[in-house]
Symmetry: C3
Subunit: 280 residues, 3 copies
């Protein structure tokens, strides 16, 4: 699991500075059959600042929906809460900054696809994942029914990835009737010494979002991360998002993290955070 | 705990085939005093397909009510959620089939008595269990009040069992004012090599249910199970239930399971399931 | 965690004798940085008699709000659910009796300050704790906002304590606009062989509460505890509370506990309990 706590600043909020905290507990059960099949199941409990499992309003803090998987030789079938093929494209999260991610505007697909979530219900469906050497394929599918009943749309997504030396390329497609959902996305990630950079593009139901993001290790335990991108879907005629953050590793799974980002839109907002995080 | 996932088929459902999954986490705390008393307490978290602890409707996925016990020398007193004397008669669950139990129509007492449940509240009360050599006695009591307040009825049940060589006999009685509750039940279980068979009878508030159930080990890791019974309470003048299933043990606490059953009644239904299960 | 179960008697209740039980599960995650900072986070699950996480009414049984801390060299900063400076004064809980605490009338500050709770939400805020040799200081602060939004008042409390040989003295102050909240409190605790006694005084928004409480070890594994105090806030012109209880240690973290107390007020009530408790 993880714990994190710190302060969060939002230029446009009524209370600009607030306490930010999160407790996540990951419960994983595993078993292995004699013929080498690995079975697993996982639930996650998550509680943000001053959230508990008591009283109304509900939705405060609880275990999410479980995910089950069986895997062998690089091949994994997962049922229950969907991981999501677009969400899991290599390079999609390059440039994630701060203690909280600061709205994760570095992620070009704008969460217009199924994605695993620790703090909510997610979508129910199936993932099929295969990797062999330099190649990887991830197929995900969720449908209207079986836990998503009444959602009104199906989602089928697939990504393929290929790594060669210092470069990794990935392209993903999604078939969905949901307004705003991502049509396709592509990432190109390269590593040069201590620097990893990603060019990313997504077609989010007709609105292109594209940009560059990078992670740079500046010292033995210190990382600088940042991104700049343009989203045609922001404001009247598109706008930019950009942000920069740092992570300092204190050892033993403990981190000091912070960042600042400009979130574009009809009303641009500057947000920032700073705090401590640790995994256990 | 356990994880299981697979597909469930119901001939008469709007969507005949659905994804089926369950995650169960068992949390047990124990302690032992210097004079040999064993103390224990247990809660269980259960989540079925796409159920979480968030949002409405509640009742989705959560921890059940705790049970506490203290035991010594074959004598156990349990308070909190009731185990149930009729539920725990030897042989009562012979012939349980499939991944999900397929409605457990093999169980002749039709759940007309207190029974421990991982996925709900159960009844609050007391169990007293004693076993010595070939004899076993189980008394359970729950009453209107103390957590069952407003339920409107008390339940007191007792069973006695006796084992001799390859045979086990059990008989149980219940005093309850609740309509439909079991009056008494009896089971006779025998084992012949790889085969275990049970004759079971229950008087469910005037409606007799009786039948035969069996478990047969057909190979090193494969079991066939089945049952046939008649229930006077089904349909206008009684009907039959029957089913057959298999379990293949994959080792390491992993199982491939499936079954098919005909559930009698005014409208008979055929149900089936197939899937993977593992314990952790 | 802990488990406890027994019977509870209340002279004035409709059902005088009820089953009492509690299950508490403590989940703690910790990490330590290379420079010696200790990080921690904790949530607690609590379920009382026949309480579960399912269905309405909510507030039955669940995880409380998390607490996060980082500490080094006797200095601790804690965010999330507040521990409370008045609650944690040395000697404040001397004389706690029985299986359940029997309403904890021995605690002179009458819970008119922030206090950590396993079975509810508590207050969100910050604690700063420092101890060095004989001296200890604890500062706590919670405010209207950041999880307590709408509460309508801030609370700032501090206590200092000093130990010298067999005596410990503590004094605490609180600034709060909440009606009934404690203004200040003081405790003096002394130990003579097997006996520990505490004189305690609290000014609860103008109503003084003061008394004496003691713990006495009468045998190798048996303790007698009791208290007498006067509370100006009870009834028309003040009334007395008194109680006595015992704890017998069965070894291995198991206990037999019971007590009886007279709770003063316009209508005085006698309550009593008896039961088993164990920690795991």
């Amino acid at each position: 699991g993880l714990g994190r706590f710190g302060v969060y600043y939002n230029e446009n909020a009524a209370t600009e500075v607030t306490l930010e905290s999160r407790f996540r507990l990951i419960v994983t059960g595993t078993a292995e059959s004699d013929n080498g099949l690995s079975f697993g199941a996982q639930i996650r409990y998550q509680s943000n600042e001053h959230r508990d499992g008591y009283g109304a309003p509900q939705g405060n803090a609880a275990f999410n929906t479980p995910r089950f998987w069986v895997s062998t030789n690089g091949f994994t079938v997962s049922v229950g809460q969907v991981l999501g093929a677009i969400e899991n494209m290599p390079g999609m999260y390059t440039g994630s900054i701060g203690l909280t991610g600061l709205s994760y505007r570095n992620v070009v697909y704008n969460f217009g696809a199924d994605a695993y979530t620790s703090g909510s219900t997610g979508s129910q469906g199936v993932d099929v994942i295969y990797s062999s050497g330099a190649w990887g394929v991830h197929l995900s599918h969720s449908w209207d029914g079986s836990g998503n009943a009444g959602r009104g749309f199906d989602r089928t997504a697939v990504h393929g990835s290929y790594s060669t030396g210092q470069y990794t390329f990935a392209v993903g497609f999604q078939d969905s009737d949901n307004a705003g959902d991502t049509e396709w996305a592509a990432t190109a990630t390269g590593t040069w010494g201590n620097f990893t950079g990603t060019l990313a593009y997504a077609d989010n139901d007709g609105n292109a979002k594209y940009g560059i993001a990078g992670d740079y290790q500046v010292g033995a335990a210190t990382f600088i991360r940042g991104y700049v991108n343009h989203d045609e879907g922001l404001g009247a005629s598109g706008d930019e998002n950009y942000g920069i953050g740092f992570q300092h590793r204190l050892g033993g799974g403990t981190f000091l993290e912070g960042g600042v980002a400009s979130l574009g839109g009809a009303t641009s907002t500057t947000v920032a955070d700073l705090g401590l995080r640790f995994s256990f």
